[in-house]
């Protein structure tokens, strides 16, 4: 793994003022797959979502399905379009100083013939019953398929708080 799993660019660490968007641009096409790891917390109580955007494309060419489970109760599910994913960061007010863990995997991001899929594992950290784990699948299917060169995550209300981090990795298969 060590020889094929490389950090791309630098880790973003959000400063004291917070940030509404984190982007990685000019992603080199020299890898096979991409992995985005995020540790995030929101400044607002919501309602909000985190928009995942490829190449700055905010058209309604995205789809998302998710399943989630908490410490108790019936597992939930969600389905949305327009590139919106749910619960990317911990809600402000849920256990203080906790940050969510998110890993987004994007295979075959350099294809110019196939739609791009992304799978996300996500834990909504909270020291309470409603701490949730999520599995999310997303699809980006523009009319003309393109190499992914920019990945952005944007929170729709408030900001990612100070100390939220995001790191992008490239995976090169041998």
């Amino acid at each position: 793994m060590a020889t094929t799993y490389s950090q791309i660019g630098s880790t973003v660490t959000v400063g004291a003022g917070g940030s509404a968007t984190i982007s990685f641009s000019s992603i080199p096409s020299t890898y096979t797959d991409l992995v985005l790891k995020v540790s995030a917390r929101y400044s607002a109580a919501g309602p909000f979502d985190t928009r995942l955007t490829f190449n700055g494309n905010t058209s309604a060419v995205y789809a998302m399905k998710s399943v989630n489970g908490a410490g108790s109760g019936v597992p939930g599910s969600a389905s949305e379009s327009a590139g919106v994913s749910t619960w990317f960061g911990a809600v402000q007010g849920v256990t203080a100083s906790t940050f969510n863990n998110v890993e987004l995997y994007i295979p075959d991001y350099t294809s110019t013939t196939m739609a791009k899929s992304a799978s996300t594992e996500h834990v909504n950290e909270a020291n309470q019953v409603d701490a949730r784990g999520y599995l999310i699948t997303q699809l980006w299917n523009p009319s003309t398929q393109a190499v992914i060169n920019t990945i952005s995550i944007s929170v729709s209300s408030g900001t990612f708080t100070q100390y939220s981090t995001a790191t992008l990795y490239g995976i090169k298969k041998n």
């Binding site: 660019g9 968007t21 979502d49 992008l168």
Partner: protein, 77 residues
């Protein structure tokens, strides 16, 4: 003074990291996302409330037929 919302951008080729204010297009998209999510949350909560109400009604009807609480619980396992 109004809060200035910012974006942090990492250029993966040059290594440059910049922090800049959101532009008008990004602010407009943010408003759209917020409104869309508020609707989605309201719809989801309404659906969950309806499902919970239907479940409670069904359990009450089963109890009226003579099923014990354990028997009713066993049906949903």
């Amino acid at each position: 003074m109004a809060e200035v919302l910012t974006a942090i951008e990492v250029n993966c080729t040059t290594g440059e990291v910049i922090e800049r204010p959101l532009n008008a297009e990004e602010l407009a998209q943010r408003e759209i996302d917020m409104a869309a999510h508020a609707i989605e949350v309201a719809e989801r909560e309404a659906a969950e409330a309806a499902a919970a109400e239907a479940k409670a009604s069904a359990q009450a009807k089963l109890a009226a037929l003579g099923l014990t609480a354990d028997e009713i619980a066993a049906l949903s396992k």
